[in-house]
């Protein structure tokens, strides 16, 4: 059976009539645009990643739908950055698969890279270039129209208060300013998928608020955001869904309310919820008690 569907996504490159073949159980997507209809923008299935004897990912699966801000929440070394790097195509998984708008980051790397905006945990930029030089380079590689790129860069740079630093070498910028440059570079081509690894670290309150508002606007347009963070409040207030990652796999997933209902305590904070789900609550209590003992003993001595 064949169906004709028009892709309505604002990010869709090809807004023509699409041909989708429906089978008894699932749709076989004939055109890449068809993924906009209802398919996830990011889909990770049973991802594993082995670094020597260390298993960074152990069967990670999640989906990010259009209009969603998906928060990947986990302790240090849980596999958040590894997962994001695999989605960008910077790293190959040991097993499992990833699709970004239906494309495999390794097999169709150019297709994926043109659809994502990525901000790394530590901004990796060309340190000797100025922000202007760097954004010119990024816009050129992304084949952006001069006027469109200018409009976007001007608005973003102005919003982030970059005037004093726009022509300074990136090497001389603070961590927060570098983060802003990386954010502008990730947004300049208005990609449907944003992959942000701790994007708010180092940002001042104003810029942090701007980023949050930008992400909301982005999802209102039908885009998706995969967001990793350690800051519980950010995840609590910004993310539409949260995936708690622990030892390389998702241990709990859902909206904040859904997660709270799992523990049966509606007034619980995300922090305590997180510690419970990652089995760290007792450990934290024990460590704090021990530290307290040491502190008071030293004082007494």
């Amino acid at each position: 059976m064949h169906q004709a569907i028009v892709c309505k996504s604002e990010f869709c490159i090809n807004k023509t009539l699409l041909s989708v073949t429906a089978h008894s159980k699932a749709f076989t997507i004939r055109s890449r645009c068809a993924v906009h209809v209802s398919a996830p923008l990011i889909e990770a299935s049973e991802l594993t990643k082995q670094f020597g004897s260390v298993k960074a990912l152990a069967g990670l699966s999640f989906r990010v739908m259009p209009g969603e801000i998906y928060g990947l929440l986990g302790p240090n070394g849980a596999g958040k950055t590894t997962a994001i790097k695999i989605i960008t195509g910077l790293m190959e998984p040991t097993s499992g698969s990833v699709k970004v708008e239906g494309f495999d980051p390794i097999e169709n790397s150019l297709e994926v890279k043109s659809r994502i905006g990525y901000v790394a945990e530590k901004p990796i930029l060309y340190e000797s270039l100025s922000s202007r030089d760097f954004l010119e380079f990024v816009a050129s590689i992304r084949k952006l129209d001069q006027n469109a790129a200018n409009r976007m860069v001007t608005q973003l740079a102005d919003a982030f208060g970059m005037a004093k630093y726009f022509d300074a070498p990136i090497a001389t910028l603070s961590m927060g300013l570098k983060q802003k440059v990386a954010l502008i570079a990730s947004l300049v081509h208005q990609p449907p998928v944003l992959l942000l690894d701790e994007p708010l670290s180092g940002l001042d309150a104003k810029s942090s608020r701007i980023v949050k508002d930008l992400l909301s606007l982005h999802t209102q347009k039908g885009g998706a955001v995969l967001f990793s963070t350690h800051i519980m409040e950010v995840a609590e207030h910004l993310c539409t869904r949260i995936g708690i990652i622990y030892q390389g796999k998702i241990v709990a997933e859902g909206t904040l309310d859904q997660l709270k209902s799992k523990t049966g305590n509606k007034s619980e904070t995300l922090e305590s919820l997180f510690l419970k789900l990652t089995n760290e609550e007792t450990e934290v209590a024990d460590k704090t008690r021990l530290l307290g003992d040491v502190f008071f003993k030293n004082e007494a001595a």
Binding site: K85, S114, A120, F137, A139, N150
Partner: protein, 547 residues
């Protein structure tokens, strides 16, 4: 409380920490240094490497790197003296000393600049600044960490130069004078490297979009590159230079001799030699001795300046970023390849460790002009050898461009561009640096007769070979995985060997064809054919790249 002696030892010991940081940054940020490029490159499949392993590897490579450069520096210091060992009547002690000092000056400065730029720009002592140390101790530790960057090669050069003079003169006073001259030479070399690194870093920190600043930087690059490479070139051409230099230095009361007396290292050469035996007549030895004394004073000031500068670096007050408020946020977009080429040019020219490679066209032109200047007729053999020599220098360019990428290459991997664009960009830049050579030869052909008009095609065929060699080198670099320093060294040698072989094949094809057929036109045509085939093969390999 430590005694002052213990304190010095303690400071020396502690200086390992900031030194390691500097070394790590200078290597890690360049990810795949020019020579020992196996380090830090991502494995096939892109696995991230363990940070601890990377740090250990960086330090091992730095030590290995430092030792090799020190050995090379010692060889360079000793080489000008070797002609005397074979009883050469034309090569004297005066010019040997002067050349030895000149060459070690060049190499020391060249190497120091590779590590000092990290020392100047990085918060090299940031780790120590959180510890409860007194300001003076803190400065001393930073100074020692700075000394550690060049210790092996400086000590090696000084000892070898002093030993060579002791062997030839058997005069304690001459040995002492040589010791003074060698130390002074090393101090001046390191001071020049530190000054240059600071100029670069300061220029970069200022930022802004000043055209004047860009022109000034270009001027610095050309001046610095030509100077360093020119000095380094001396080592390969002692047989051309030393005889005429010796004659000039020993001619009494000539204007050229008088002028050389004022210049370091010639003043040192004349002074040390004349202490052991009177070889120069007239006022020359006296003028040279006074000049050398002047340079010792200058070196004293340079040393003092270095101390102050290092102190300022340790206190974080040396390089200040100035704020230039942007009046607009407009950006210019270009075609992807041109955008990448522009980025490459900007990044490499702003890194003092790679910027001097932009002086390659000047150097190649000088080499080629120098080599053919003495010939009445431009013969094929002359052009083959001179263009090959010029081409070999170009092979360093792609590796330098890759080194300059630093960690930024990680960002590029997230952009929608394939590896071919990276290779093409770097190949274009490398090949363009060679283009002045055939153009210079074209001009020379107007002045000097050619053995055959077709001979002029030779340098243009070499341009094709240069492009192919660049593609092969970069392909190897980007696709490589190496473990351990020896493997990395062998791998980097392999890259250069592949490059040199690619350049050499058309030359070999020409020679073989000519030997078999004695037909000059046929030999040139087959050479053209082989150059074109190499390029076709390189382009074919490029097209096979999937990513």
């Amino acid at each position: 409380m430590f005694s002052s002696r213990m304190k010095l030892l303690e400071a020396w010991h502690l200086s390992r920490l900031p030194y390691k940081e500097v070394v790590y940054r200078s290597i890690a940020e360049e990810r795949g240094r020019m020579w020992w490029g196996g380090f830090g490159r991502g494995r096939v499949g892109g696995d991230a490497q363990n940070d601890y392993e990377l740090t250990k590897k960086a330090l091992r490579i730095a030590k290995f790197d430092k030792s090799l450069v020190a050995i090379f520096n010692v060889l360079a210091a000793v080489m000008p003296f070797t002609a005397q060992l074979f009883g050469s009547p034309t090569l004297g002690l005066t010019s040997a000393i002067a050349l030895s000092l000149a060459v070690t000056f060049g190499f020391t400065a060249l190497y120091a600049i590779q590590t000092l730029s990290s020392f100047v720009s990085a918060e090299s002592s940031a780790l120590l600044s959180t510890l409860p140390l007194e300001q003076n101790d803190f400065s001393m530790i930073t100074l020692f960490s700075f000394v550690r960057s060049v210790d092996y090669m400086v000590v090696g050069a000084i000892i070898s130069q002093v030993l060579m003079v002791a062997y030839y003169t058997l005069s304690p006073v001459a040995v002492l004078a040589m010791l003074v001259a060698s130390v002074m030479n090393a101090v001046l070399a390191v001071a020049v490297a530190l000054w240059f690194s600071r100029v670069f870093t300061k220029n970069l920190s200022r930022g802004g979009r000043s055209r004047g600043g860009t022109v000034l930087r270009l001027f610095f690059i050309l001046m610095w590159g030509s100077l360093l490479m020119g000095v380094s070139l001396l080592i390969s051409l002692p047989w051309y230079i030393v005889p005429s230099l010796e004659m000039t230095l020993l001619s009494p009361n000539q204007l050229s001799t008088m002028l050389l007396c004022f210049l370091h290292p010639f003043s040192a050469g004349i002074t040390v030699t004349n202490i052991s035996q009177s070889v120069t007549a007239g006022s020359t030895p006296l003028i040279a001795a006074v000049s050398m004394l002047g340079y010792v004073v200058v070196a004293g000031f340079a040393g003092k300046w270095m101390l102050t500068t290092v102190k300022r670096i340790s206190h974080g007050t040396d390089v200040r970023a100035s704020v230039v408020t942007a009046t607009d946020f407009s950006i210019k977009t270009h075609k992807p390849l041109f955008g990448y080429v522009l980025k490459d040019l900007k990044v490499a020219s702003r890194n003092p460790a790679t910027a001097f490679f932009f002086a390659l066209p000047v150097l190649e032109t000088v080499i080629v002009s120098f080599m053919i200047a003495n010939f009445e007729v431009l013969r094929a053999s002359t052009l083959l050898v001179s263009t090959f020599m010029g081409g070999v220098f170009v092979l360093l360019m792609p590796l330098a461009l890759l080194s300059a990428e630093g960690t930024g290459l990680e960002y590029t991997k997230t952009l929608p561009m394939n590896v071919n664009q990276i290779i093409t960009s770097k190949t274009l830049i490398s090949t363009l640096t060679y283009v002045p050579v055939p153009l210079v030869l074209l001009v020379m052909a107007l002045v000097k007769p050619l053995s055959s008009p077709l001979t002029l095609f030779i340098p243009f065929f070499v341009v094709l070979a240069v492009a192919s060699a660049s593609i092969f080198e970069i392909q190897l670099f980007l696709s490589s995985v190496t473990k351990g320093k020896i493997a990395a060294l062998l791998y980097d040698l392999k890259k250069l060997v592949v490059g040199v072989t690619t350049l050499f094949i058309p030359l070999a094809v020409y020679s073989l064809t000519y030997l078999v057929s004695f037909n000059h036109i046929l030999a040139i045509l087959t050479m053209g054919g082989s150059s074109a085939s190499e390029l076709a093969l390189a382009v074919h390999l490029l097209k096979r790249n999937k990513k």
